[in-house]
Amino acid sequence: MTDPKKDLLYRLADDQLILGHRNSEWNGLGPILEEDIAFSSMAQDKLGHALQLYSLLHELGEAEPDTVAFTRNAAQFHCSQLVELPIGDYAFSLMRHFLFDHAELLRFEALAASSYEPLAQVARKLKGELKYHVLHANTWIRQLGTSTEEALEKLQAALDLTLPYALGLFEKTEAEPAIIAEGLFIGEDVLRAQWLENISRVLNQTQLELPDLSAITPVGGGRHGEHTEFLQPLLDEMAEVFRLDPTADW
């Protein structure tokens, strides 16, 4: 039986690391300078968040953060499939960011009350930073979601495409009952309900339509090490420099 704390931390940290890397791929390519900076800044934040969480895992006896981040293969990662998908066009990356960060802010707000005090401390720090991510996503979803036909078409297509993967964020593991019973976290079902309320509120202010969730099969697997073909190439690229000399002192 996996330690519920480690189970929870790996899922949290891997989501941050992988989406952080994907966000960094907008560096130099953003549609406007401010968006280039925004995605690069969110990438930097998320890598910082991943480091804090891998450090907690290290305190629990796991390897050094760099080793954990750069030496595992895809099947050893516990991120959701949502975060590993390629950046696609800006509409896709924006929609993924909107759906992911709404869940992430709620997740860390709840974790701020975790019975596991070191994680609660990290969560209290991270939730303040995540507010800016949600503010950024909401601003652009509202603005583009009420603009031209082309923008609406692209965003609606992105929403339809990402939603099944976004529902995969709330995939449970075997440790879920223990995680809730020990007061580590409120649990994925409660989080999903809060998330749906928050994203609906913003989407209702736009011309975008939230598809009927009961008709959608969530894309899971990521929490159990089942990933898309896109994760391993990402890991290879991310760890390319580290693997040249794993003992180098930077």
Binding site: E34, G48, G128, Y132
Partner: protein, 159 residues
């Protein structure tokens, strides 16, 4: 050597990305303790968790302790009392204004949209300003625009 002497040394250490504000005025030095054996422990806390300058600040603190001949020291990073922008001192806020960086508005612990969008123009002092982007040249800065003097400016973000 006492704790206030060490704090006065640390006042010489500046934020490498905002070289007019000391770490003490930034509020990132949480505690200085001298043990019975003379061992000095400095506890720091990061402003933003992904801030690349934190490592440099930590090294600068270690360098200052070394240069003042402190024989044994530990510089630790802790989130026990997480940093809030309210921790920037009045002197720090004044230094930010002179650097033409709008200081973070004081808040009561709850950061809502009103706080996030509020900024005082560091050029003309007007509050007729608008948040242009919550992300700027560093993690701790947001981009705003002043409708009074019609200039863009940066703000140290409230968190």
């Amino acid at each position: 050597m006492d704790e206030s002497t060490i704090l006065s040394w640390l006042d010489e250490v500046k934020d490498p990305e905002i070289p007019v504000v000391s770490l003490v005025d930034l509020g990132v030095i949480r505690r200085v303790q001298i043990g019975a054996d003379g061992h000095v422990t400095v506890r720091m806390t990061p402003t933003f968790s992904g801030c690349p300058a934190m490592d440099y600040m930590r090294r600068d603190v270690e360098r200052v302790l070394r240069e003042h001949g402190v024989p044994g020291y530990t510089v630790e990073m802790s989130l026990e009392e997480a940093w809030s922008s309210n921790d920037v001192t009045e002197r720090g806020r004044q230094a930010l204004r002179e650097f033409r960086l709008s200081p973070p508005p004081a808040h009561q612990g709850i950061i809502d949209l009103d706080i996030l969008e509020y900024a005082e123009c560091p050029h003309c002092g007007s509050h007729n300003t608008e948040l242009r982007s919550p992300f700027g040249p560093t993690l701790c800065r947001a981009l705003h625009y002043c409708h009074n003097c019609r200039q863009g400016f940066e703000q140290f973000k409230p968190v």
